[in-house]
Amino acid sequence: MTAVDTDRVAELDRREPLLAAEQVTMRFGGLVAVDSVDFRVYPGEIMGLIGPNGAGKTTFFNCLTGLYLPTSGRVLFDGSVLPPKPRRVVKAGMARTFQNIRLFANMTALENVMVGRYCRTSAGPFTSIIRGPKFRREEAETRARAQALLEFVGLDGTAESLARNLPYGDQRRLEIARALATDPKLLLLDEPTAGMNPQETRQAEELIFKIRDQGLAVVVIEHDMRFIFNLCDRVLCLVQGKALIEGTPHEVQSDPRVIEAYIGKGPETDEAAQTDGHHDEQQEA
């Protein structure tokens, strides 16, 4: 399995990165939240971003999505620097979900996804009022696309329910559908399994694989180690704003420094063996 992973990574490395963070540093006053981090995401791979609380994951995430302008270094998406405006970033092809679900609670599931199409449509007020051909074409396309995406994430039965009435797991999936509606090349998921039960987590995992199979790159921030190590092609571990290690899940999880960062110093071999054991169990199951 490890061999396959490395082959895959090696193959990816020869391609142009979709997203490249070069020596990104973010300072807030005296605090260095992110310190010279390099980060590459290639098309069609799932990249994990892990780190203990306060490691600067969210800050780094915000640098990637253009919410913050890095103090130094730069972020290249598809070869160009992103403008620091969320909607331009979306237009460029990067979509995100939120750690604490931020759906449009009082809109239906279908409408939520249709909002995601906003940046890919351009019908103005005039054509909307006279119901011109452009409006009708776009509206039909938007509706069909939104319906298809709901089916894709497995929510086709709930198109007309209000977002706030959906079960928790469905809300997470709806958020992903909404993000996918913006036609992204890269999808950033901020803790997609927070608060989920094991079954829902497994469904989320399948969904993310399905998205990857569509040719999208996915970046996942997560606390759930098992989830990350099952899912990702490569993992970056941030600790205190610094990139501790980047590599395949196997490399990362067996690295003593990662274990130390998470659990603290101890009889290292034991801890490593334990984590490994868990991981294998999961694989077999």
């Binding site: 931020r102 609670a105 909307s128």
Partner: protein, 575 residues
């Protein structure tokens, strides 16, 4: 709004037969009492002194009594089954009983007030009150059953269309009849009766059925509604009094619809909206042929309408660009201040403090009547032998305008722009992160709302004859906002209803005029407590506020039924 139950649902199950008997008897007693005299003198309300010949007001009571009795009788078997029902007979009986009791208290109270003491109420009145109270107590013992399923019945198309036509005819007649009531007492009792009747129809499930039918025949509904509105002046036969109220209502409603885009869709609280109406009115007045006009250019009215809209829209852009970066309460404060700045600006553009544009606080009087396509608006025209006066002319013009505004509102709402607005209202940050142009859309909502208000203002200037700064005070903005909130944010029908209520009541009821701030304030507080989504809820709002209500309970119950029927027992006891 809930009226508390006297007994628990289990007790209702047992007491249902007794309740049925009491309600039927009470209702019939009330019905019978209307043939008895209620008052000593015919000076109160209408003539209720005659034995064996009910007056109009007594007939209303008879209607409620008969309704309560018949509905309770038809719902007599409800307690035996599982509560499924097509028409909510017992619900209707409950509401009819409450309406009867309230109505009688109002009527007997008015007799007492007008004739000086309750001694003037004759035995018939007391019999009626007893009948109503018996029915009220009896109806409280009835089971409600599940929500009626009438709305799910799909009638043949001809029946649906006929029902819409009949409903519109009733609305037209009610408008004619209600406005025809000269004295406050007659008007108030009519309003109570109308509200009661609508409430009963709601509880029976008829209203929901009607709205489902209208949903299926949307075009017919819209056509019928406009035909009804169009027919209204013909019921007035040249009387200017009610037509003047009707035109004021329309101007108010058009402006409120514009505000509804800003507040109801985009969720921007605008407390200075009246300034845009004022800007349009001043522009139109200055460009009109009034001798007090301060410029020498007097283009035709079609051009003036567009210029007024453009001036207001531009003003919207100017005020919006810096202020729309703040939101919520801050935006409200800024717009409030803007409304005042506008008013003082108009007062000061008088030639001493600034250029002479508006004649200061005197404003621009003598704005001539419109003359469009050879039709002089000050003339009275005779169509089919019915006279249509000056206000009727404005009424028709405003009807065209309101049709256009409704079209714009509905179509923008059902487009990507409308979805963007609602998304912004729901969660601005998330909308931004999903690629919605938040600032641009907010600005567009502000500017388009302002444009529509400006267009309305240009007609208002001619309608009102004179335009002065003190017509455009903060209070008017507050009333516009009240109309939107009261009627139902984000809906067309709701805002029309709200605007009608808020304009009509002070006109028909002088005592409301005096205490209108108090009354509207109370009304808003009561609404926020019992029906926060407004009189007419948009589908979305209804789901938002009453999620946990009947419908959901009904759905869960039917789910459980289905499971039991199919023998599938939910695992883990989650049901």
């Amino acid at each position: 709004m809930r009226i508390p139950q006297l007994v628990s649902p289990e007790q209702q199950q047992r007491l249902h037969p007794i309740g049925t008997v009491l309600t039927v008897v009470g209702g019939l007693v009330l019905l019978a009492s209307t043939f008895l005299p209620w008052a000593y003198s015919s000076a109160a309300l209408d003539d209720m002194t005659i034995l064996g010949y009910p007056s109009t007001l007594q007939l209303y009571a008879a209607g409620f009594g008969l309704g309560a009795a018949v509905f309770a009788f038809l719902g007599r078997r409800l307690a035996r089954g599982d509560g499924r029902q097509v028409v909510g007979w017992t619900r209707g009986a409950k509401t009819a009983s409450v309406a009867a009791a309230v109505y009688l208290v109002v009527i007997l109270g008015s007799i007492g007030l007008e004739l000086g003491g309750l001694v003037n109420v004759v035995y018939g009145g007391w019999v009626a009150l007893v009948g109503a109270l018996v029915a009220l107590v009896g109806s409280r013992l009835l089971v409600s059953g599940r929500p009626p399923r009438l709305a799910r019945r799909v009638p043949p198309a001809w029946l649906g269309i006929l029902s819409i036509a009949a409903a519109m005819a009733v609305v037209l007649y009610a408008a004619y009849y209600g406005l025809d009531q000269e004295d406050a007492g007659g008007f108030v009792s009519f309003v109570v009766v109308a509200i009661g009747a609508v409430a009963v129809l709601f509880r029976l499930g008829v209203m929901r059925w009607l709205s489902a039918v209208s949903g299926r025949h949307r075009k017919v509904l819209i056509f019928a509604a406009f035909l009804t509105a169009f027919a209204f002046p013909f019921t007035q036969n040249g009387s200017d009094e009610n037509m003047s109220i009707a035109t004021q209502v329309l101007i108010f409603a058009v402006t409120a619809l514009g505000l509804n885009i800003v507040v109801g869709l985009a969720g921007l609280l605008d407390l200075g909206y009246i300034a845009f109406l004022g800007a349009g009115a001043f522009t139109a007045a200055i460009l009109s042929n009034s001798v007090f006009s301060t410029v020498d250019w007097h283009p035709p009215f079609i051009v003036v309408v567009l210029i007024s809209g453009a001036v207001s829209g531009t003003l919207g852009l100017i005020i919006g660009t810096p202020t729309l970066r703040v939101s919520g309460d801050y935006l409200a404060i800024v717009t409030l201040a803007f409304g005042e700045i506008f008013r003082f600006g108009m007062i000061n553009l008088d030639g001493t403090d600034g250029p002479d544009l508006t004649n200061g606080s005197n404003g621009i009087p003598g704005v001539p009547d419109l003359n469009l396509f050879g039709l002089d608006f000050k003339d009275t025209h005779t169509v089919l032998g019915i006279q249509l006066g000056r206000f009727a002319n404005y009424y028709f013009l405003l009807l065209v305008l309101i049709a256009v505004v409704i079209l714009i509102f509905v179509r923008l709402n059902n487009s990507r722009i409308g979805r963007g607005w609602v998304a912004i209202r729901e969660d601005e940050k998330a909308a931004e992160a999903m690629g919605v142009n938040v600032f641009g859309l907010k600005l567009f909502a502000f500017a388009s709302g302002a444009f529509l208000a400006g267009v309305a203002g240009s007609i208002k200037a001619h309608h009102d004859v004179s335009v002065t700064p003190d017509q455009y005070i903060f209070l008017e903005s507050a009333f516009l906002l009240a109309a939107v909130v009261l009627g139902g944010m984000g809906t067309v029908l709701g805002v029309l209803v709200g605007a009608t209520l808020l304009k009509l009541m002070p006109e028909k009821l002088r005592f409301v005029e005096e205490y209108r701030l108090l009354i509207f304030g109370l009304l808003l507080v009561v609404m926020m407590r019992f029906r926060p989504e407004g009189l007419v809820a948009s589908k979305r709002r209804q789901l938002e506020f009453h999620d946990d209500d009947d419908e959901l309970a009904e759905k869960i119950q039917s789910d459980i039924d289905e499971r039991e029927a199919t023998g599938v027992v939910p695992v883990g006891g989650q049901a």
